[in-house]
């Protein structure tokens, strides 16, 4: 069978997506059954003519299945280019769903007619994302497969721990919390720093406890509520938090900026606990969490969206979740519990053998090989013919046509009913 794998050959602006696409490709390439993969470059930077040529060239291969493994451009563009004779050959389409699914209701709404009478599958990266997507698509078309982690890039290595600690000036006795990712309003990095410094001030975390922050600041703000930020705004607001505390405490918050993919494993290995209180509305998964676990780094996370799926029960305390709640303007997490758990994490750090086991157990779920097997099963699964998207999706699609901020109450600038109806499952 010939399967078209559709993605942009150009790197995404979202670094995590670039990794996800690369690892998904590797996962699909493991399929040893009678499958021939045809790689199709569908990119936003292509002209209309280039995309037409791409489609024509792809269908010379008698494709029977299409799998969209990238988040942009939306599949509607590609599917609209298919001629009836090309469309007839297709038996099934699989969509890998990314966090921007909720930004594209009007495109999905318009895609419906192109999917009728085809077998369609939506592959979500986490269980909560699947529950969200099930509000919009037929339930029996939704599957779950985590975005895979490359075990050649992320693994536990005691040697790296010692080497990296020496390089960045951490002693063996130091305890390091590590956050990797964007420093952003919805990622709650400011709140994380605030809690850490509060604990320091209250002497519940000692001098040898550090918070390492690896990532760059962004200005995304809270776009759903039209709260965009200016360049430097989130940085300055974070700095205002730092200025409230004594210098000797602030020294224990270490900003290392962006680190390249190759160095991430060093930091995961040299740290003692990955920490993230993100409540980012489209946290469908959490690639950094997956990589941290694959490197044997236990995690302290919010119980929000995709983060909830990261549970390694074989090792006590390896994955700890803080409850969250949807508010009028913000998703919030239980700060008191977060502080207690941070202290607990410090007092009960995982020994080396447990971390090694954590890495092994995490990779049993997240590795390219495991995900490849899951995708093979999804590929083989029988599914009925697609009928339609839900009325709710069409409603949101229609609202998105004329409202730039469909989840915002325009009078009070707080979240409206649509928001709660869509995102309630992420907070459960």
């Amino acid at each position: 069978m010939k399967i078209g794998l559709i993605y942009s050959f150009k790197e995404s602006n979202w670094f995590s997506v670039t990794k996800i696409v690369a690892n998904l490709l590797k996962a699909y390439e493991l399929d040893k059954s009678n499958v021939e993969l045809v790689h199709i470059n569908y990119s936003a930077s292509n002209t209309h003519e280039e995309n037409l040529d791409t489609v024509t060239a792809a269908f010379k291969n008698d494709l029977q299945k299409l799998i969209f493994i990238d988040h942009l451009p939306h599949p509607l563009g590609f599917l609209s280019l298919l001629r009836p004779s090309q469309r007839e050959k297709i038996k099934e389409i699989i969509f890998h769903v990314f966090g921007d699914f909720t930004l594209n209701f009007r495109w999905w709404s318009n895609t419906e007619k192109l999917l009728k009478d085809l077998k369609v599958k939506f592959v979500c990266a986490s269980h909560k994302q699947a529950r969200l997507v099930e509000k919009f698509v037929p339930k029996d078309t939704v599957y779950v497969c985590p975005f895979p982690v490359n075990p050649e890039e992320f693994y536990f290595d005691e040697g790296k721990r010692l080497e990296t600690r020496k390089k960045i000036g951490l002693t063996e006795q130091d305890f390091a919390f590590l956050y990797t990712g964007r420093l952003s309003e919805q990622k709650k990095s400011k709140e994380l720093i605030n809690l850490f410094l509060d604990l320091k001030l209250e002497k519940k975390l000692p001098k040898n406890c550090k918070l390492i922050i690896a990532g760059s600041f962004d200005n995304l703000g809270t776009p759903y509520l039209q709260e965009n930020q200016l360049l430097g705004e989130y940085f300055r607001k974070t700095n205002q938090i730092l200025e409230r505390y004594p210098k000797e405490l602030v020294e224990d918050v270490v900003f290392i900026g962006n680190i390249c993919n190759k160095e991430l494993i060093d930091y995961y290995n040299c740290s003692d606990r990955f920490i993230s209180f993100s409540c980012y509305h489209d946290e469908d998964y959490g690639m950094s969490v997956a990589e941290a676990l694959a490197s044997g780094l236990p995690c302290l996370l919010t119980n929000w969206a995709g983060y909830s799926s990261f549970k390694i029960d074989s090792i006590s305390g390896a994955t700890v979740h803080i409850p969250v709640a949807l508010g009028e303007k913000r998703v919030s997490f239980d700060m008191d519990m977060a502080k207690d758990e941070m202290v607990k994490c410090y007092k009960e750090s995982l020994p080396s053998e447990s971390r090694k086991k954590l890495s092994v157990d995490a990779l049993k779920i997240l590795s390219i090989e495991t995900c490849g097997n899951t995708l093979e099963e999804i590929n083989r699964a029988d599914v009925g013919v697609f009928s339609e998207f839900s009325a709710f999706l069409h409603l949101l699609g229609a609202v998105s046509e004329y409202k730039e901020f469909p989840f915002m109450n325009e009078n009070s600038k707080v979240y409206n009913d649509f928001y709660y109806k869509v995102y309630d499952v992420y907070a459960e």
Partner: protein
């Protein structure tokens, strides 16, 4: 309280109500400069700092300015000179502190000393052999008052290592600044010298909306096509790249004094605020000339712009 202590106090108590860049309902003084700054966007794009970086044209009048305890003016020579010539001393009961770019220190009359401080930036240094160099250019007559186009490109040729990949941001439009000036001849000259000096193996970027999506990384660098920008002293691109730890090839070495206030604007670049120490020599010279020549000082008047340009070309203004 000293000037710098007062500024420190204002910054630490700042909130969005006193930051122009956070406002959606700006009552512009005039439409002309609103359009001009729009045409040279993203050079004039907004960024955040509690010092309230903004332009004179965003304040309707002094009453409007009084609403803000601190105003960091991103204006450059043309509008700043007109402002001080038309207002040689602050109005009564004017308590707002203006931050002016340090390069225009000599343009400030002594009478404004109690209401003015200076700002400058410390930007990351570029690597000696950057992989890519982004040259930021506004190919308009307002970029070549002190130096000619040819001189600017000669300087660039000396500055950029031969091995580096060159990218030029050169938006091209006939009326790229003021509607009455056809800038096409300047642009054509720039293109001629660009091709002469650097050949055809360069990337030329002209799309204002796409330029901010062009990625540079730590091993790359940027520089300005011309060190002069007579319309905007505080270029957004400098902040955009500095905050990504991309070094400036033409970054001047700042020698801050211990008394200066320093605020980080990102993990990689800072703003320094210092007290005004100069005697306003350039202002004095300019005031004298405008009186002698009975010059009508209006920042929108092309004759005034020509007057300033001539003074600079003749070396009569120390800037």
């Amino acid at each position: 309280m000293s000037m710098l202590s007062e500024i420190k106090n204002i910054i630490s108590n700042s909130h969005d109500e006193v930051i122009m860049a956070k406002k959606w309902n700006i009552h512009y003084r005039d439409n002309l400069y609103k359009e001009v700054y729009g045409r040279i966007w993203p050079t004039t794009h907004r960024y955040y700092f509690e010092g309230n970086p903004s332009f004179l044209t965003e304040y309707k009048n002094f009453t409007d300015m009084k609403r803000f305890p601190l105003i960091m003016l991103r204006d450059s020579f043309v509008t700043l000179s007109a402002f001080f010539l038309n207002n040689p001393k602050p109005p009564e009961n004017f308590n707002t502190i203006l931050l002016i770019a340090k390069e225009w220190e000599q343009l400030i009359p002594k009478t404004w000393k109690s209401n003015v401080a200076l700002y400058s930036f410390q930007r990351p240094q570029a690597p000696k052999k950057p992989k890519k160099v982004m040259v930021l250019g506004l190919a308009t007559s307002y970029s070549f008052w002190r130096h000619t186009v040819e001189q600017a490109f000669n300087n660039l040729e000396k500055l950029i290592p031969k091995e580096s990949k060159k990218m030029f941001y050169l938006p091209m439009r006939e009326r790229s600044v003021f509607g009455h000036i056809d800038e096409a001849p300047v642009y054509a000259k720039c293109m001629r010298f660009l091709l002469q000096k650097f050949g055809a193996d360069v990337d030329i970027l002209t799309n204002n909306n796409e330029i901010l999506n062009v990625k540079l990384s730590k091993g790359d660098a940027y520089c300005d096509l011309s060190s002069e920008n007579m319309l905007c002293s505080d270029n957004y691109f400098h902040h955009h790249y500095s905050s990504q730890n991309v070094g400036a090839l033409d970054a001047k070495n700042l020698e801050p004094s211990e008394e200066d206030l320093a605020y980080p604007l990102s993990l990689y670049h800072n703003i320094h605020i210092s007290e005004l120490k100069s005697q306003g020599e350039t202002f004095a010279g300019l005031l004298y000339k405008t009186k002698i020549l009975k010059m009508n000082v209006k920042d929108w008047d092309p004759k005034y712009h020509d007057f300033l340009k001539e003074m600079i070309k003749r070396g009569e203004l120390k800037i």
